[in-house]
Symmetry: C2
Subunit: 260 residues, 2 copies
């Protein structure tokens, strides 16, 4: 018997109305609305099977967005790869789109074979009369009342880059064997009037890591910590040493990369 | 006794989660969530009174947005006009902002004294694989599967300008004495990749008029009607002669103007 084709799809979603990526089944209740759940429902509807597993590269949290999530699934039928994204999107709710599809080798795993990921955090700041909180895009941009300066955030971001023990940048009971991760790049730029974007890429990210990095750079941006403070925070290996966990709406998974 | 100050405020809102501007009280049910209702609640909370009327310049429909709605109310206390917008916004839900405040003469009416209004309708089009429906901004941009051409829409828009009987561009039982309105300008432009904006201003608009004008220009844009068809549609004085009523999410009230 020939192995069934394994599909790798690129998924974009507005995370506002989702309890994150991963399926969740509270006891004695309906399963929560998650991206994995609606993806599996769309694949089952298309392929007319009763069960399918869609494995995602990244377990994004409740309220976090994606334009480059990767999901894989196997199914018996072969689909035209140019048409498959639309066939799935047509069966998905309006807040999830499938952007691209390809066939991958039979034992491809989107989690273990991932070599790097990129996230973007977008933030606006200020609370004076002439400064507006986001209105129409408040679900995709975070907001802080602090006045921020770009240069110290850019300075602090340089300390984030490299291989470090990110124990201070994740929750205390992270349950991971190692908290060492390699950040390839961390760039902060002005993306609009009083709007700041942080782009970060690395070989892996701990739970809440990007949002805690963003909250730590914010402390540098508002002048509370000098950029060099990051060195101390790494050394502390203590969640309390770092800045706050920024809210989910500012975060978006941009891309997931695999060795060719 | 001195008359109480009458405030005129500029209001922006994301209409997605509102049943339009106007208060609505279904029998034996909770009042619907409308912008007027939450505005009156915010004013009552601020001014510590039990009842207030916030009169709006335009009764925007369910799902329609605004960045330049005008509301007026009277209250006993005098507020610092620079601070009043923030004081109200702080008491409003996240989908309504008060942008500006001024004091107007004692018998100012935002409806009868309005001399012109401007609306914008934003639309994306196309359904091929490489063309995406709006995702993160699907609540503020309408979408059509038709392929659209800009030039015939611009051509058709010219016929909309001027004083006309807009009876074909409103619902059949409009209940208005006159359906003659004057459109000062109607401009269609490309505002992004496969994204089209229509800006329309006039001395007054009938129920659904802007959305029906947009739906009629769409028929020109997809090549179903020649631009000159607009002349016939005016002459018909029949709702069925015009194009479809476009969905509310693409519509935004931009500004309301008064004689100085």
């Amino acid at each position: 018997m020939l192995p069934m084709p394994r599909y790798k799809v690129t998924i974009a979603y507005d995370g506002t109305a989702f309890y994150g990526w991963q399926k969740q089944q509270p006891p004695d209740k309906e399963p929560l609305r998650t991206v994995q759940k609606v993806m599996e429902e769309a694949v089952m509807e298309l392929t007319k099977v009763d069960k399918v597993d869609v494995v995602g590269a990244s377990r994004t949290d409740s309220g976090v967005h994606a334009i480059g999530q990767i999901g894989t699934f196997v199914c018996e039928r072969e689909y035209d790869l140019r048409k498959l994204p639309m066939m799935l999107t047509a069966r998905l709710p309006a807040d999830v789109h499938v952007l691209d599809a390809e066939i991958v080798h039979d034992d491809f795993c989107p989690i273990s074979e991932c070599t790097s990921k990129g996230y973007r955090y977008t933030l606006t700041w200020g609370c004076k009369k002439e400064i507006r909180r986001p209105l129409f895009d408040r679900h995709v941009i975070a907001w802080t009342a602090y006045e921020l300066e770009l240069a110290p955030m850019q300075e602090a971001a340089k300390y984030i880059v490299g291989e470090h023990d990110f124990a201070s940048f994740t929750r205390k009971n992270h349950g991971k064997e190692s908290t060492v991760r390699k950040v390839f790049s961390c760039e902060v730029r002005e993306s609009g009037l009083r709007e700041i974007q942080m782009d970060i890429s690395g070989n892996g990210f701990l739970y809440h890591m990007v949002r805690i990095v963003a909250g730590t750079l914010l402390e540098a941006g508002r002048g509370y910590w000098a950029p060099e403070k990051i060195i101390e925070i790494f050394e502390a290996k203590d969640r309390k040493a770092a800045g706050m966990t920024m809210p989910p709406e500012g975060l978006r998974l941009e891309w997931v990369s695999y060795e060719q």
